[in-house]
Each structure stands twice: as C-alpha cells, then as structure tokens.
C-alpha cells in the first residue's frame, strides 16, 4: 500500500499555507509507517504527477473555504469532494485538480482521495498562521492520524511538540 499525505497552499499568505504547515508538523510529531509519504506540495501542479501516480490513497491537506467559522475542521471525501475536481471553466490551466484529472485519464488515479482542512481565518500576507487556525492545528493533525487509521495505518506520536 502506498499513501501520500500532501500539504498544499501558499505559506506566504498566512492561513492559506495551513496544509503545508500541518504536514511539516505531522512529520515532526509522529513516526509514520513506511507506506506513507509526506509531501509539501506548496502551490505546484504538474510536478506532482509522478508522486501521486498509482497510489492507493491521497490525503490532501488544505485551507478549505466553506463559509464556516474560522478553524472549523472539514473533511471532504467521496461524493462530498467538490465538483471542483470535475468541472471547470476551461481545460487550459493546470493545477493540482488537473493533475488528478490527468491521472484519471491515464487510468492511474489514487484509489481513495480525501481532503482534510480547516476554514481559514486570514489570507493576509505573512508567514504565521492566525491564532484561531494555530489553535485548530492539533485537531487537524488528529484528523490526519484518524484518516490514516481508516486505511489501517498507525501513526505513533513521537512525544515531540507540534
């Protein structure tokens, strides 16, 4: 089994980068099974094709704007995955969604995809998370660990801080 935990977002825009911050902390706070690769995807697109190709599960961690109060944990999977991945204005711009669509076309999509995240509070310029999102980070890490558990994978806390 191969699983990728992919943090995405722009760390220069405060909470926009919460996905990247979450996976950085995940690697520090937990000892992960060998089947799990943790990737800081930043805001990239096509470069990730190879890493996501033919894997069993993709756990994407991102800021998710859902009109909820700041730092509300959000989990999207299966039918709940946004239409985002299926419809778009034009086929011309390649981002992460396009990578997934390309993999679908090649018949090598991840078998299971889930998106975990928090409602962002601030997208202002800056490299720090907002207070609210900072407080929500342990919950987000917990969600990632639970998601791995659903796949039968155990992440053991190292006792290090997050």
């Amino acid at each position: 089994m191969r699983v990728v935990v992919l943090g995405v977002g722009n760390i220069l825009l405060s909470d926009e980068g919460l996905g990247v911050r979450a996976v950085e902390r995940l690697s520090r706070a937990y000892s992960l099974p060998l089947e799990v690769a943790v990737i800081d995807g930043g805001t990239s697109g096509m470069e990730l094709l190879e890493d996501l190709e033919g894997i069993d599960a993709l756990i994407m961690v991102d800021a998710i704007r859902a009109g909820e109060p700041a730092a509300t944990p959000i989990r999207l999977t299966g039918e709940a995955l946004p239409v985002f991945f299926r419809t778009k204005l034009s086929p011309h711009q390649v981002g992460l969604c396009d990578v997934l669509a390309s993999l679908e076309l090649l018949g090598r999509s991840p078998r299971h995809i889930s998106i975990l995240g928090l409602q962002p509070q601030s997208l202002a310029l800056g490299m720090e998370l907002s207070r609210e999102v900072e407080d929500g980070m342990p919950a987000l890490l917990g969600m990632i660990v639970s998601e791995l558990a659903l796949l039968g994978l155990v992440a053991a806390a190292t006792g290090g801080g997050i």
Binding site: G9, M46, D62, R86, L89, H92, L105
Partner: protein, 567 residues
Amino acid sequence: MSQRVTIDPVTRIEGHLRVDVEVDGGKVKKAWASGQMWRGVENILIGRDPRDAWAITQRICGVCTTVHALASVRSVENALQLELPVNAQYIRNMIILAHAVHDHIVHFYHLSALDWVDVTSALKADPAKAASLAESLSSWSGNGKAEFTKVKERLSGFVGTGQLGIFTNGYWGHPAMKLPPEVNLIAVAHYLQALEVQRHANKVVSILGGKTPHIQNVVVGGVANALAVDSQAVLTVERLLAVKDWIDQLADFVKNVYLIDVAVVGGFYPEWTQIGRGIVDYISVPDIPLDGRNTEFALPGGHIAGGDLASFKQIKTHDDAYFKDGVSESVKHSWYEGGKGPLHPYKGETRPQYTDFQDDGKYSWLKSPTFYDKPMQVGPLPRVLAMVAAEHKPTIDYATHALELVSTVAKTKVGIDALHSTIGRHAARAVACAVEVDELARQWDLLLASMARGDLKTFNKPVFPKGEITGVGMHEAPRGVLSHWIVIQDGKIRNYQCVVPTTWNAAPRNEKDEPGAYEACLAGTPVAIPDQPLEVLRTVHSFDPCLACAVHVVDQEKQPVVRVRAA
C-alpha cells in the same frame, strides 16, 4: 452595439487574472488585463537575512518556484559582486533548462493546445490515416496506427460514460476550431504522451535540486550539491548518467513531436499569424552563464525595438547598466499609492490603495513596468528573436526548420515575420524549447568534463559588508525576463522588488496610459461568439499567463465565470 466580455479568472488558480474586452463588430476594440490579487510578498522580506530570501521567494509562485529561487540568489551575489565556482553554474543551468523544458511542454500540451485542438473531433478520425500523416512528418516511435487506435478507444470510453474529465467544458465544436479529425487525434495522443515525457524533466530537477516542487540545493555563493566521482551520498557520476538518459528522451520528444506539432497547428491556422501582434518592443536577458562572474553566456539576450531585428541591442552581462538603468514601474493604474511617477525597482514601493475596477483609473494589482519608458513584451518570442539577431546558430536552425514545416502545411511561404503573432508565440516557445534541451545536454557535458579534471568545488562563501549595497538578479525564465532587485543594509534586506515576466506582459496601462502587452495584443482579435470567447483565450494563453501569487484555497461555492453585457 459593443459588448463587454469579462473573463475571470483566465488562469484557473483562483483570483488571478481577469481580462475584460470590449467587442464591437466581431472584434476586440479595447482590452483591460487585471491582476486580481495583491502580491505584496516583497514586504515579508524586509529586515530578513539576504541568504534566506531565495527560500521565501520560491514560494511566490506554484509554477515557477525554481526561477524565483535563482533570481533571488543572483540578486544577492550581484550585490556582493561574488564570483561562483563554474560547477555551481553548470548545476544551476541544468536546473534552469530542465525546468524550462518542462514548463514549455506542459504549457503547450496541457494548458493551451486545447485552444486549438478539438478533442471531440478526434473521435471521427481514421487512425490509419492519422498514422500515415504523422509518420510522414516525424520518426517519433509513438506515431503508429496501433497507438492512435488505442488513444481513440480510450477517448471514446471517456466520452461514452459522459466523463470527459480534464476535457470537460472545452469549446468543442466552436467555429474557430479548424483542425481535421486526424490532426486532432494525433494531438490528443501526443497530449497523453507529453504527460509521460514531462516527468523526465521533473526528475532532472529533483535529482539536482534535492527535491521538487521546491528545490533545496541553492545557496548564496553556489549550490549545496556535494560532487563526487564515487560516494553514494552525493551527486555521483552514476546519478548523472541517469540524468543524461532523461535528457536524451526529452530531446527526442521536443524535436520530433513538440516542435512538429506546433508547426502543423500553425500551418492549419495561418490567419493567426496576423492576429495578436500588439507590442513588438521586446526585451530578454542573456542566461546560462559559462563563467563565475556572469559575463559569458550560452544564450544571448537583449532589446529589439519596433519588431526590427536590425535594431537589436545586446545585453552583455548580468551587471549591464543598459538593463539595470532602463527598468521602472508605474502604479498610475494599479491599486497602490502613487503620485511619484514611475520608480526604479530599488526605490519601488508596495503600499496598497484599492479602488473599484475603474476603466480609466486604477484596475489591477499589477504594476506597469517599462524599459526606458516603453511597455515591452517578454517571453520566448523576444528570447528567440534576440537569439536570431545575435546570430545564435542553433536558434536560427530550429526557427528555419519550424517555419519551413509551417510553410509546407500551409502551402504558402511563411517567414520570420509571422512570429509577431498569437500562433508565433507558440512557435517561438517550441523553438526555444529545442534550443534549451540541446543546451541542457551541453551543460551536462561541461559538468562532467569539469569533474573529470578534478574540480569538485560548488560554493564560495559570501561575506556581507557594513553599509548599503544593491544588486539585481536577472534570469531569462520560461515566461521571459525575471528580475529581483535587492537593497541590503548592514547585512539585512532593506528593500526587495520582484519584476516578474507576467507583470511585464499583463501590465495595466502605464504612466502615459499606453496599454500593456496583453491589452495591446488583444486589440483586433476576432470574437465569433461573445459568451465563448475562445479567440481571446488563445491570445492570452499564447503568453503562458501565470500570475505569481498562487492562492490555492479550495472553494466549495465559487465557480469561474464568463460574463457578457452590453458595454
């Protein structure tokens, strides 16, 4: 009556580029390009250690992480007048070139080919006819009847289940789509093959850069790659041999597929050599340094005025005053506090002042850069024209080859003047890519030869003086001239400005109210169906738009829009 068409966003990463066009009599009369997101990243850098700037600036953009990392270290090295070991240059050059090749392939096949290729028409193609056409043009191994039959079946499967996936919502059947079914099928097959091939370029970057998407090996003063002839822990000859294998596969695809596809598409759309001319004042900078002081380059660059190659003025080094003194930025039509006229980047200010979208006032988060007070076009077209003007033989050879092929398909003589156009920008990008993939192989040879001579040095330690120093980091990035401008005071960053390629091209009107490149190139573009503005997208996409501030929030509600209203 004229109509106003708004396309927002043009790049699908949310909140990026908005384009408004006023259409009258089936043609664009006036255009506005607007960056919809504040990129005040420079402000984050103030007060920081200049040695850290590259790691932060490579987060500006999701597509071009490496280019910002390199322009940033070059700005600091320029300020320090620091010489680099040549091995560091070779390694950086290979990263630059592999990234460029990757970017161009993805741009053509996965971002813009579908402006020209009708995927649904490919279902009507005869794979045998497609194969004999493709085999008459190229020796590429993926052009056989069996391959095209397989692709057609896969595509039918997708369409049959109603799942077009990545092809959903294209402008299929649009009257401006003109390729025969067989050519559409060939293009779809190459689209899929390009997905396979592009990964080789990415692997080169990740081996040399330590990791992608964000490279780790750059440092002010060189690179952090330890070179060795034998050790497993570092960049060994064995790993470099794997790199060479990927380079060779890329070269095969670029020369035998990409360059030919672009020429064939161009040959079927000859009218697009007359559309999208716009600004023909061009600027590029030399790149792929061959010495430690950035004074000798494999690929030349410079300024061309009025589209006339005879006017070419070469930019000779990365310290050339002709470039350094010529750049300034206006904020008259940008959402920043202004009133001081155009400012040189060392004096640049980034203080937001948002108004609504005002047609004749402020309407963009992008500043408007000029070169000696004139708006410029940047990108592969300016780069290729400069290299032709500088008599760079490989560029002349590939450009001649491509134009001959276009002429054959179009059944009429197509000369270099055709490049000043929407389709010409695609052709120039393919020519640049062929030149770059050859140069990538040459840089590999240079690195190996240097190692064979026993030179394994990759880093010179920087020393920061007291007082103020300034520097510019120039880089001819895939989308054109990128420059980072740094002011360092007592070893800390005092000011930092990035003048990025898309800022040049997508600039709003300047201090003299002259339009930027997108705006000028859109004027005169035909629009058959205002709510399906395919032609406008063709011209904008020919620049490979990328606004540097990739906001990436998953939005469950908002959908991108095309709005049409009476102007």
